[in-house]
Subunit: 340 residues, 2 copies
């Protein structure tokens, strides 16, 4: 069976192809109701589906948004990607997801691939935005918004959360339980990442410690941002001679690894080790003990990112448009910190 094209529809409806086009996109010119109906009947009868590629070609637009994340298998990114898809779907757009696996070449690869597919915008939960890439993005005139990523350049459009403040909240809370100090499990920065929100979590820890006049030296440890590597690192740290009384992890996924290591070593959480994370992934409520963490409103952030990318700025009451949208983060107290 050959593919049905607009020509077939036009022929059956007895109109020109232009009218078919006007009917399927409701514009740009009006169509008389009777004609419209004939066309719609023909579309239905033939089972016509417009060819997206041809539409994109002709209109120089698409209904696509490209999303680049480090690794969608990690709960935080998976949930974020899902939220973006939902938000995009609400506005009739589809999202294309690319996993960079934390390697810069793959980020650029996806960025180029998405641009070549004429996405109308890009949302980056990633670090691909160097000057070089920016010029290319510009040439294809796509819009970019950084999500969960601190903007570096003055004209970056971004949706961020209060990472430093959120981390401070968590660390202060841990401190209030009377621990002499709180250790921190930060990320491994093989390639120093600019604008990395997770490193802001470490900064928040540092500030909270400083407020309390507690030294931070030798209390910062590092592991990749996932549970498996964090588990390995924690195994060593917790079995060592300087086991901390409390630990703040820069992501929940790491915290999950720490919890697992503690169990392995028969260290009771929170009695012998208090733990807090960051992100409030869905699983944080189902760990044992449930994880105290810092939550951000992913749904709202995803929606804001989609709005920014599609509308070039967020509508705000004062009729101006904002280019950076900051969301608050809040502490979610469960049991791993020692409460209850």
């Amino acid at each position: 069976m050959a593919k049905v094209t607009r020509d077939d529809v036009a022929r059956l409806a007895g109109t020109s192809t232009a009218v078919v086009s006007y009917v399927i996109n409701n514009g740009p010119r009006p169509v008389a109701p009777a004609t419209r109906e004939r066309v719609q009947a023909a579309i239905k009868e033939l089972g016509y589906r417009p060819d997206r590629v041809a539409q994109a070609m002709a209109s120089r637009r698409t209904e696509l948004i490209g999303l680049i994340v480090p690794d969608a298998r990690q709960p935080f990114f998976g949930e974020m990607a899902h939220a973006v898809e939902q938000a995009a779907a609400e506005r009739g757009k589809m999202v294309l997801v690319g996993n960079s696996d934390y390697v810069a070449e793959r980020e650029v690869h996806y960025l180029r691939a998405f641009l070549g597919m004429r996405v109308s915008g890009l949302i980056l939960v990633s670090h691909a935005l160097n000057d070089n890439a920016a010029a290319e993005i510009d040439a294809w005139d796509a819009r970019v918004v950084l999500l969960h990523e601190r903007p570096e350049a003055i004209d970056d459009v971004a949706v961020v959360t209060d990472d430093i403040g959120g981390a401070q909240l968590a660390v202060r809370h841990l401190l209030e339980h009377g621990h002499p100090y709180v250790a921190c499990l930060g990320g491994v920065a093989e390639t120093p990442l600019v604008g990395d929100p997770v490193s802001d979590h470490v900064e928040g820890w540092r500030r909270a410690m400083q407020e309390a006049r507690i030294p931070t030296e030798g209390r910062l440890f590092e592991a990749p941002y996932n549970r498996y590597d964090a588990y390995q690192v924690a195994l060593e740290l917790l079995a060592g001679p300087h086991r901390p009384p409390a630990i703040f992890c820069s992501t929940d996924d790491q915290a999950i690894g720490v919890l697992r290591a503690a169990r392995e070593l028969r260290i009771e959480v929170p009695e012998e080790l208090a733990v807090a994370g960051f992100d409030d992934v869905k699983e944080a409520a189902l760990t044992d003990p449930p994880l105290t963490t810092v939550a951000t409103d992913r749904t709202a952030m995803a929606r804001a990112a989609v709005d920014l990318v599609l509308d070039d700025g967020l509508r705000v009451p004062g009729s101006r448009r904002e280019r950076v949208k900051l969301f608050p983060s809040r502490l979610v107290v469960r049991r791993s910190c020692g409460c209850r």
Copy 2:
């Protein structure tokens, strides 16, 4: 900065646009080395990137594979999607992932969207293939392969694993530990799904029980295929008056929920409750206790699916082409079953 097109390159290189095309795709006609070099220099100088949309339009092909999964946030599907991406990348293709969230309309939505984008093939870890959809797929002449999905129609192309046999392996193993019976946590089938591999896991359980002449009545429980819902169901089941001595879960994600519920209820695994799952997701090695489960070779399966979708059949030694590729599944013994 305006976008660089093939015309700009041709002008700078002093050739026709056709030659530019021949150079960038190495064919279909040969180009003299000197000319080729001039064109390549021009491409580099201008930073030219071919427009994928226009290429797709003109050539009626793309380098895209559409992948539809129920929910990539679930570890099994996430890992499978990742494996497919890897396999596709090895062959220079990109994959588009759609999450159906287990609803049929969304499957069809993505299917149509992907066809409209002229994907060269579709890999379904899903149930979208009804006759209606098949006709559409045919019209757009894309190829489809079912992955991890039992084929229903005689001409379906599929990559499957031995679900029934694998489940039998796990249940037999549980039985060998001397339990009087093994309960089963299957899936909820609101919409009866044809070809659902997970329901084959239940079938495997049934057969293993029958082999051992143990009745199955009242020993099959149901929960959606994820840890959160399984946790809720398990909480009730394990706290009830008929707590089973052992339970086989149709997915690892469910098993993780069961493990969590057992801990909550202070039921020791495996001493008071033996547990086994299916899939061998990465996390299965990191549960407490580590989960005994059934593994399949996701990497090989993904690669086979990509080969099938791109080559219309798998090359086999005997020069024939197979249309259904069956992979074995094997038992991975860890500690949740009671071993060691």
